[in-house]
Amino acid sequence: MKNRKIAIAIGIVLLVFSYLVYGGVKEAKVYYLTVTELKERMPSVYREKVRVSGKVVPGSIKKEEDGGLRFRISDGNETIEVRYKGVVPDIFRDGVEAIVEGKYSPENVFFANVLLAKCPTKYESADELLKNKKENT
């Protein structure tokens, strides 16, 4: 049967696929944690690459001499100190939901090599929209 050759070839392609996906996941996986979860995993997490999200603590953003950035993020429960150098997203500022990726060091500083900021959702309730206006005027 000629179709058997095709079937074998398809099988090989699928195997290669699975290998690529498996290897890719293994290499690229990053745990996505809240600040509290990070603290809970404290000793083991030090060497792992993780992604942490939390609100930027208002007033904590400081610029360093070398152009780097220092700030704290919090999930309302726990807070960590973050250091970052690189492109800062336009929407990054006090109170915004920030996502950092990098490693947590034993000195309790998070060294981030990726900084993302989530767009505050446009769809607030009508009440909030009205309240906002009053404060501004």
Binding site: G24, E27, V87, I91, C119, K122, K133
Partner: protein
């Protein structure tokens, strides 16, 4: 106006439901009057939704801040252009746009197909009407663009500055035309499944609709990449962001579908596969809309979120279950008319092209939903980032380029040795020569070497096709240029396809060069100081600060020298919006870009201080403009292949030419 808009949405819902019900009754009972009434209903829906859309545009333009939608997305200082584009800046407006485009497609399908495809038509119409009912239901009862505030505001919150970019204004529109357009071929497939007439009619009827929506999706992807490149200011254009992936997945499966339908048309094979592919493509289109709109995964592109997620999940579930149920019921009538004769044949090249495309789509899907799956399965949220997508998709991409060269030239059924030598010796030689030249030129990384080599291979095969076709005609005494034009215009689909392939090659070259050979440098300069990057020397002249109508601008003046010769002046900016409503964005970075076909000089002003010191990040991105140019070529090819034919006789000619090419010769 607002009341009229709201009322017509509600009416449009009931008419949509009516169209669906009447179509199916008409189809089941065979009573023409039901079908005719449903067809008229389709025009009713498009009319009503046009009225609502006009009402929304009117409300936006008159700055009716008593509407929540208008107040949330516009402000008085917004220009007229962006006030209109605010139509699709938010959730409810985007949904209205979806529904409106769908109703237009529905009406067009009725106009073009009601005479031609009588048997399928009621089912096709019914299927589109069901989808339309779902979207209009959301608009009418869940997320209305005409929701009022308790009292009118003085001014609105303004449009997100990131969306105030010409690309962002048209890119969602194009993507939506693509997403929504997929509904049409899906409806044709469902029409075939429901009516039980499983011939090629559904494929013939829906072919152009598929290419059309595929083209729009492609344009949307390219424009989205260009927007990210210009506006997000990190130097790249593609980040495997969930929302990018969302549009990429249906594009991948639609591409697979466009190829595999050829096998069904020519050989009567892959019938099940085609039905399966179009169902999956429609699923990805819905899933894409869902991802973009539900906020279930975090993304840089999603600007609106709300609680319509659950509705979508239910609808997607319904579509999947129903489609596959029908699919299984009709499996018997989807038997293949032919078998694969050899692994070295055009049939199997197309089959592998399909498997690889589907595999790519699936791997992207897996990566996109990985956080959700891992949270459900293991209780931990695990992400897979760009390294995953690159690792999986780069090899897949290389295989696809190879197949792109092999597919059009290898013979049907079984390729003989002569066929292989005749068609592939020049391209293979060119491929090796290019790789050798690049290797000597100093490129040592395996991925770019392979990629450029394979691109040369594809270009050679395409040119071979063109040259042979023209040569045959020239031998008959025609002028080469005339014969080229005639040849293309008589076989639009085929040569249009080749032109698309050339465009894809340009894009691949651009992606390969810009991802493999980026030069990046960061420096903090005082006025008068210089930095050098690559061949360029950049002199920072000083900061310019001024205020325009809508923003406080800080622009860094930079003079660009290329080895002592002044070639340009550039001014990257950092802007603060004056208007409070826009303050959710702290600062807006405007990059400065100097683009040539060789490379882009991309300057970001990352920081500045009151003493006039400024920090720049400078990137030299090679050959990025090839991506945009390639996009243009792809669109050109697509337009050529869907351009209406003079007569249907041409179809016979295409078939005939393929028959001949079995012997290894290509004659027209």
């Amino acid at each position: 106006m607002v009341e009229i808009g709201a009322v017509s949405i509600t009416l449009a819902f009931f008419v949509s439901v009516y169209v669906a019900v009447a179509s199916f009754i008409g189809a089941r009972t065979g009573r023409r009057e039901f079908v005719r009434s449903a067809e008229n209903g389709a025009f009713g829906v498009v009319f009503l939704l046009t009225v609502s859309s006009s009402a929304l545009v009117y409300a936006l333009l008159t700055r009716d801040f008593s509407l929540k939608y208008v107040a949330s997305n516009t402000s008085r200082d917004l220009s007229t252009f962006y006030t209109i584009t605010a139509f699709w800046a938010g959730q409810a407006g985007s949904l209205l746009l979806w529904a409106w485009i769908l109703s237009i497609y529905m009406a067009l399908v009725v106009v073009y197909h009601r005479k031609k495809d009588r048997l399928l038509m009621p089912y096709i119409l019914g299927t589109i009407a069901v989808v339309s009912s779902f979207f209009v239901y959301l608009l009418a009862f869940v997320e209305s663009p005409f929701e009022r505030l308790p009292f009118a505001l003085e001014d609105g919150r303004g449009l997100n500055p990131l969306l105030q970019n010409p690309y962002m204004a048209i890119h969602p529109l194009s993507l939506y035309l693509g997403y929504v357009g997929i509904t049409v071929p899906y409806a044709f497939a469902m029409g075939a499944l429901l009516s039980g007439s499983m011939g090629d009619e559904w494929i013939k009827g829906s072919r152009k609709w598929t290419i059309l929506s595929w083209t729009f999706l492609g344009i949307g992807l390219i424009l989205g990449a260009r927007w990210a490149y210009l506006e997000l200011g990190w130097g790249g254009y593609w980040a495997w962001d969930p929302v990018e992936n969302a549009a990429f997945m249906p594009w991948l499966t639609a591409t697979a579908f466009l190829h595999s339908v050829m096998i069904q048309e020519k050989k009567g094979m892959l019938k099940k596969w085609n039905v399966f592919l179009i169902i999956i493509t429609f699923f990805f289109a819905l899933f894409g809309t869902f991802i973009t709109r539900s906020g279930i995964v975090s993304s840089v592109h999603s600007f609106a979120q709300s609680d319509i997620g659950p509705y979508f999940l239910v609808f997607i579930g319904f579509v999947l279950v129903f489609s596959f149920l029908m699919f299984v019921l009709r499996l018997d009538s989807l038997r293949s008319e032919n078998r694969f004769d050899s692994i070295l044949s055009r049939e199997s090249a197309f089959l592998f092209n399909n498997i690889v495309f589907l595999g790519a789509a699936f791997s992207v899907f897996l990566g996109t939903i990985f956080p959700i799956v891992s949270e459900v399965v293991r209780g931990e949220k695990i992400l897979v980032g760009p390294p995953y997508f690159n690792r999986v998709n780069v090899p897949i991409g290389l295989i696809l380029i190879l197949l792109m060269g092999v597919g059009p030239l290898i013979s049907w059924r079984k390729a003989s040795k002569e066929n292989l030598i005749r068609n592939f010796s020049y391209p293979v030689v060119l491929c090796i020569l290019v790789m050798l030249a690049l290797f000597i030129g100093g490129i040592r990384e395996i991925t770019p070497l392979l990629s450029f080599g394979l691109c040369a291979f594809v270009v050679a095969t395409v040119f071979l096709e063109f040259i042979r076709g023209v040569r045959v005609r020239v031998r008959r005494g025609e002028n080469p240029l005339v014969s080229l034009v005639k040849m293309v215009s008589k076989n639009r689909r085929r040569y249009g396809g080749y032109i698309v392939h050339l465009g894809v090659v340009l894009i691949v070259i651009g992606i390969t060069a810009s991802s493999s050979f980026v030069v990046q440098k960061e420096a903090t300069l005082r006025a008068g100081e210089s930095m050098s990057v690559g061949n360029y020397t950049l002199r920072f002249e000083g900061l310019n600060q001024y205020t325009t109508r809508s923003k406080h601008v800080t622009a860094a003046r930079i003079t660009v020298y290329n080895s002592d010769k002044k070639i340009d002046e550039m001014a990257p900016e950092k802007n603060v919006y004056r208007f409070e409503g826009n303050r959710e964005i702290n600062q807006e970075t405007e990059v400065a870009l100097r683009s040539t076909f060789k490379e882009d000089l991309y300057i970001i002003l990352t920081d500045f201080d009151s003493e006039g010191k400024a920090t720049f990040r400078v990137l030299i991105n090679p050959m990025v403009s090839w991506i945009w140019a390639g996009g243009g070529v792809v669109v050109l090819g697509a337009v050529i292949s869907i351009w209406p034919r003079m007569s249907e006789r041409r179809e016979e000619i295409v078939r005939y030419s393929v028959e001949v090419s079995k012997n290894g010769t290509v004659k027209i």
